[in-house]
Subunit: 456 residues, 2 copies
C-alpha cells in the first residue's frame, strides 16, 4: 500500500469538502424537529458509499430514524467486515459557548471545529475514504458491509429490532467501529471495554401549584429540596451507589489486570489542570482510570425546577426534575439496574411528594478479548502507521448497540477509534484534529489487509 499516503495527500481537500457537507446537516436525533435532517443526512451517506465503490447502498426504514446500508461483496471465500457508524449527533447547546456555529465546520489551528467533527461524522467518514482507496486501487480482499444508523446518541432504540429482522443481510465475521478515542496523538489505542448505560428522567411533585415561598415556606415540602436530598442519598460517603443490589453483577477486575491498566500514561496533575479542578472525586479505592473504566457511575446530567430567570422570585415550586444517568460495567444488566433504581428511588421519596420516573434508555456494557483475530489485525494496522503496538483500554463511554450486536448477530466488534479527549465530544467546540483524521484514513486499509491475511 505504498500509494496510500499519496492518495490521501492528493485528495485531502475533496475529503474535507465532503465531510463538511455531511457536518452541515444538523442531524440531532434527540430533537424531533430535525426529522427531515435525518433523511438528508442518510441520503448523503448513501451517496458517499456509492461514490466510494459500494455495489449497492440503500436507505432502510426502521421504527425510528432510517438506517443506511451499503455493501461490496467480492468473493464468498473472503472474510466479511461490517463497518458500523452513526450519522446522528448530540444537541449543540449551550450554543453561546461555541466560538463558531456548531453546524458551520471550520478548520482552526489544525483542527476541524463542529458538532460531529469527531463523534461520529468525522470518524465514520474516514471509513468511506479508506474503502474508496482500497476499491479504486483494487487492493480490497474482504467483503465489506456498512451499517450507518441515526439514533446512536439517543441509545439506538430501533437498531436491535432492525438487526433481528436483517440477520442475514448483516452477517459478518467482525464489526469494525471508529467511535472511540486514543490516549494521546502518539499512543494508538484500541478500546476493549465500554460501559453500559441507564438514563432516567425523574419528576418530583410537591404542592399542586407554585406557592408563595413566604406564606407556605417551612410547612410544605419543597420538591427541589426533596429532589436534592433524594439525589444525595443515592451515593454514599465512599462514592458507592446505594441502590440495593446495584453491584451484585459487577465483574471484579483482578489485581493483575488492574496493574496492567495502571501502565497507561496518565498524569493526575495534567488531568486536573485540563479540567481546571483542584481535586478529583469518585469511588474510594479506585484510580481515575478505574473509576471511568471498570466501575459504574451516577451522574445528574440535568436538573431544573422553580424560577430560573433573572433576579429573585420567591416561589415554592410545584415540580422539580432531573435527568439521571448511571454508567454500567460488565456484567451489570441495564434492565435489571433500571428496575432496581426505580424501586429504590421511589422507596426513598417522602410522603410529602409524588415521584414519577421515566426510563429513557439503556444499554449493556461490552468487553472484547485481545486475542481475537480481528483485534490482532487492528493491532498490526496501528503498528504500521504509528510504529508501536496499541494500548488496550476500557473506555468509560457507552455504545449500547455494540453489546446488542454481539447478542443478536453473534459477532464481536473491534473498536479502533481516533478521537482525542480534547475533542470535546458532546460539548461546545467539539473538534477533530486533521492529523487524527488523516491518520485514521491511513490506518484502516491495513486492518482489511491483515484481517484478510488472518483468514478471519
Amino acid at each position: 500500500m505504498q500509494d496510500l499516503k499519496q492518495y490521501i495527500e492528493d485528495n485531502k481537500q475533496r475529503f474535507l469538502d465532503e465531510l463538511f457537507e455531511l457536518i452541515r446537516i444538523p442531524s440531532i436525533s434527540s430533537k424531533p424537529e430535525h426529522k427531515d435532517d435525518m433523511y438528508r443526512c442518510a441520503e448523503m451517506w448513501k451517496k458517499l458509499l456509492l461514490e466510494g465503490g459500494a455495489d449497492k447502498a440503500v436507505i432502510m426504514e426502521t421504527e425510528g430514524n432510517p438506517v443506511v446500508y451499503g455493501e461490496k461483496i467480492l468473493d464468498a471465500s473472503y472474510p466479511t467486515v461490517l463497518v458500523y457508524a452513526h450519522y446522528d449527533v448530540q444537541p449543540a447547546e449551550p450554543l453561546e459557548l461555541w466560538t463558531t456555529p456548531p453546524f458551520e465546520p471550520e478548520v482552526r489551528d489544525g483542527k476541524i471545529y463542529a458538532r460531529g467533527a469527531d463523534d461520529d461524522k468525522g470518524q465514520g467518514f474516514m471509513h468511506t475514504k479508506a474503502f474508496e482507496y482500497l476499491v479504486k486501487t483494487d487492493q480490497l480482499k474482504c467483503n465489506v458491509k456498512f451499517l450507518i444508523e441515526g439514533e446512536e446518541e439517543v441509545g439506538s432504540p430501533s437498531l436491535p429490532k432492525f438487526c433481528e429482522e436483517n440477520k442475514e443481510l448483516l452477517k459478518s465475521d467482525v464489526i469494525l467501529v471508529s467511535d472511540t478515542g486514543m490516549i494521546a496523538p502518539d499512543v494508538p489505542t484500541i478500546t476493549t471495554g465500554l460501559r453500559g448505560l441507564c438514563y432516567w428522567e425523574v419528576e418530583v411533585t410537591g404542592p399542586n401549584r407554585d406557592l408563595h415561598s413566604g406564606l407556605f415556606g417551612g410547612a410544605v415540602a419543597n420538591p427541589i429540596n426533596v429532589l436534592a436530598k433524594m439525589i444525595t442519598q443515592m451515593v454514599d460517603e465512599n462514592g458507592h451507589i446505594t441502590v440495593p443490589g446495584f453491584y451484585d453483577d459487577v465483574v471484579e477486575i483482578s489485581d493483575g489486570e488492574r496493574a496492567m491498566m495502571a501502565k497507561a500514561p496518565y498524569s493526575e496533575d495534567a488531568y486536573k489542570k485540563a479540567l481546571d479542578v483542584e481535586e478529583l472525586a469518585g469511588e474510594k479505592g479506585f484510580t481515575t482510570n478505574e473509576r471511568t473504566g471498570i466501575r459504574p457511575s451516577f451522574d445528574i446530567c440535568g436538573i431544573w425546577g422553580g424560577y430560573t430567570g433573572d433576579g429573585a422570585k420567591t416561589v415554592l415550586p410545584s415540580k422539580a426534575y432531573a435527568k439521571i444517568s448511571s454508567r454500567l460495567v460488565p456484567d451489570q444488566d441495564h434492565e435489571k439496574i433500571a428496575e432496581l433504581f426505580c424501586k429504590h428511588f421511589e422507596s426513598i421519596a417522602p410522603k410529602s411528594v409524588k415521584v414519577n420516573i421515566r426510563h429513557l434508555h439503556g444499554g449493556q456494557a461490552y468487553g472484547c478479548p485481545i486475542d481475537l483475530p480481528a483485534y490482532k489485525a487492528a493491532e498490526k494496522a496501528c503498528e504500521e502507521v504509528y510504529g508501536e503496538r496499541p494500548v488496550p483500554v476500557r473506555s468509560g463511554g457507552s455504545i449500547p448497540i455494540i453489546s446488542d450486536f454481539e447478542r443478536i448477530l453473534g459477532v464481536k466488534s473491534v473498536l479502533m477509534g481516533f478521537g482525542l479527549e480534547a475533542d470535546a465530544i458532546h460539548s461546545p467546540n467539539e473538534n477533530f484534529p486533521l492529523e487524527q483524521f488523516f491518520n485514521g484514513i491511513n490506518t484502516i486499509p491495513y486492518f482489511y489487509k491483515y484481517f484478510a491475511e488472518s483468514g478471519k
Copy 2:
C-alpha cells in the same frame, strides 16, 4: 357613611375598568425589559391619585424604578396616614399554566384573574377608591399621603434611600398597607407579623466545560450532584437549618402566645387537600401556622444546570445553579444571616468545585403591637363591615420595606389586607374575588374615621 355602599354599587364598573387598565401594564420589576412599563404604570397611578382627589401627585425618581407620591393635606391638626402600596408585580411564568393570559384581566366565577389582581394592584387600587369616596363626600378627617413603589417584588432596593432623603415629605402617624391576606372570606384579619427574607443565587462550577458523562463520569465531581448535596446539608433531619448561629437571635414565642395562635381556624386535612399533598413537612415541634409564622424557613426557589431539553443528553455539566431563599423571623438580622449563610455554604463545598454566591436581596422581619391606636382603628373598621373582631396573625410572607419604614421613618405600619390564600399570588392564575375587592373599598373609609376619632 350610610352612602358608602351605594357609592360602591354605583361605580362598580368604572372601578373595574380602571383596575383592569392598571393590570394590563406588565410591570414586572425583576425583568429589565419591562423598564418602560414601570413608567407607564407609575403614570397611571399618578392619574388615579389626582382623579381620586389628591392635591398633588408626582412621579419621583429613585436609583431604581420611580416612586409615585401623592397627598391631600387638609389640616395640620388632623392625624396623617401614609398609604403604601406597590405597582410592580411578579413574573408570570410558567405562562402555559394560565387559563387566560396573565396581563389580560378577566372576571370568571366572581373573581378577577390576572397577575397583580391581588398582589398588589387590586389591593393597592382599593385605597384610591376609598380615598375618592371620602374626598367626594367630604368625610375625610385625616391628612393622606400615598407612597406607591415599583420594586417591592425584588425587595425594594431603592426605597430605603428614598425614605432617608424624604423623611419630611413622608412624615406621618401611621402607615396603612393592604398587601396581606385574610384567613377566610368571613374572617377579617390583621397581620401583626411578617417574616424577613434573605435571597441568594449560588453557582457551583465543576470542570471548566461540559464533559461526556461516560468518559469522565465517576472520576470528576459533577456540580449538580455536589449542589444537591450542599443543599441537603443545609437542613437537618429535624428541619433545623444547619448554618451555625442561624437561630441565635430568633425570638422564642411564649407558650401563651402559641396557644392564642392555635385558636386561628385551621384544618390540616383541608390544607393538605388544597395543595394535593399526602403529608406536610417542616421543623419538628411546631405546627403549620407556627412553621410559617414564627419560625424561619429554607427553600430552593429555583434550580438549573446541565441538559434540560427533550430526550437524553449524556453530559457531566460544568455548572449548576440555585436560587435559595430563607424566611427570617424577629429578631434575626438579614445582613448577619446573609453573612453566616455565605460562610457556611462556602465551608461545606468540596475542593472538587468552585462556589460563587450572589446575595440578591434581604429584609428584616416585622412585628406590630395590637394595642397601637391605628391597630385599634383597623380592628373597628373591620368589625363595622364584617360584624366581628379581626384575628391578629403572623404571616409567613415578607414585605421587607415595612421594617425599613419603622427604622427610617420611625412609624409603625398596620397591615389590613383582603387577599385570600386561594388568590394564588406569585403563581399562575392569580386572582382576587370581587367580594374581597369591594369589601376592602367598603372597610378602608372606616379606618380613617376611627383613626381620626382616636386623635392618633
